[in-house]
């Protein structure tokens, strides 16, 4: 069952300790410990992996150097044969046989380390994926628990402070009223300021048709032209 589905069931059932129901009888703490242990294992596995990879590289280098040695000695054998020194050629050939035996052994070692590396890399990847999955689940469970506990604290606070829980509509109404008040106060202040300045006087005079000589409206211009025509 997915962790979200478990959370859903637990919350529907009214559980307060969601962690206990979902993760472990001991809640999220044990789960956190398990994640920590997995992290330690992962670190160890990565260390092992680097060690094995180093050994793999060493074995690879040995294989290369043995192959080079064998090639060189084959050349020496040819040279000895060319010089007619069969005895020396045989001696060199014996050395080659020994090098080839070493090569087979080193190649075996290299192959074994390579197999090890593949397996360890696979293990590290799997552990990392598992760990991420655990962390994601834990985070969901912990968030659910935290929200439930926070919600309980808020509800308790409401109850203890005796504050009346009013409906959303009433809340909105009160907020709107308060905002309107603030707005009205600002408008009144602006008006008061206007009245106290010359601007207020000018406006009053203009309204009374006094001092409106500089009326530059289109109508005024038209009236003037019409008057000239008459």
């Amino acid at each position: 069952m997915s962790v979200l589905r478990k959370i859903m069931t637990a919350v529907r059932g009214g559980a307060r300790e969601v962690g206990e129901l979902i993760v472990d009888a001991n809640g999220t703490r044990i789960f956190e410990q398990e994640i920590q242990d997995a992290e330690t294992h992962l670190r160890k596995a990565k260390q092992d992996l680097t060690d094995v990879m180093a050994k793999q590289m060493q074995a690879g280098r040995k294989v290369e150097s043995l192959k080079k040695d064998i090639g060189e000695h084959e050349g020496f054998t040819v040279q000895a044969l060319e010089k007619g020194n069969e005895e020396l050629a045989l001696e060199i050939a014996e050395k080659i046989a020994q090098l080839e035996a070493d090569l087979v052994e080193q190649e075996e070692v290299h192959k074994s380390f390579s197999g090890h590396v593949v397996r360890l890399k696979d293990l590290v990847k799997k552990t990392e994926r598992q760990l991420k999955e655990y962390q994601r689940q834990l985070s969901m469970v912990k968030t659910t628990e935290s929200v439930q506990k926070a919600s309980a604290a808020i509800t308790d606070n409401f109850a203890s402070s005796n504050s009346k829980i009013i409906s959303a509509k009433d809340s909105l109404e009160r907020i709107k009223e308060r905002q309107q008040n603030t707005f009205d106060r600002l408008a009144a202040a602006e008006q008061l300021e206007g009245e106290n300045s010359d601007k207020g006087l000018d406006e009053k005079m203009k309204a009374a048709g006094i001092g409106g000589g500089d009326d530059k409206s289109a109508n005024a211009v038209l009236d003037r032209i019409k008057a000239k025509q008459a």
Partner: protein, 135 residues
Amino acid sequence: MNIEDLAMRISDLSSFDGYQLDCQPIPGEVEVLQITVGDFDELPTYVSVSDTQILCITYLFTEDEVNAERRTEMLEEMLELNIPIPLSSFSKIGDRYVIFGALSNNSGIEDICHEIITLTENAAESISALEDFLS
């Protein structure tokens, strides 16, 4: 950032974006900060800090307030509004409908204040939009 840090830093700011922010800690198993924005006294935001995120929640209304006949219609409306509402989403805790926003634990004080103000404005806006479904 933990709750104490947050409370101190919000108190230090006299106002943010033209709004006065008031905060008050609420005791409990999980530390919660109650923050009110400007004139929105009735719609406080509750902030809690966890390992991974800062959660800001504002309560909208209770199940009792919802007009039972139009409940499904309202729920669908809320689902559809979830995307257009900037930074906030609807949810439900117990029998209370809420609007919430989550922030990274590494968010700066300005991001947090911005979130709280947006959430409060969204809360008022949402109640206004869903008013017809409420009794």
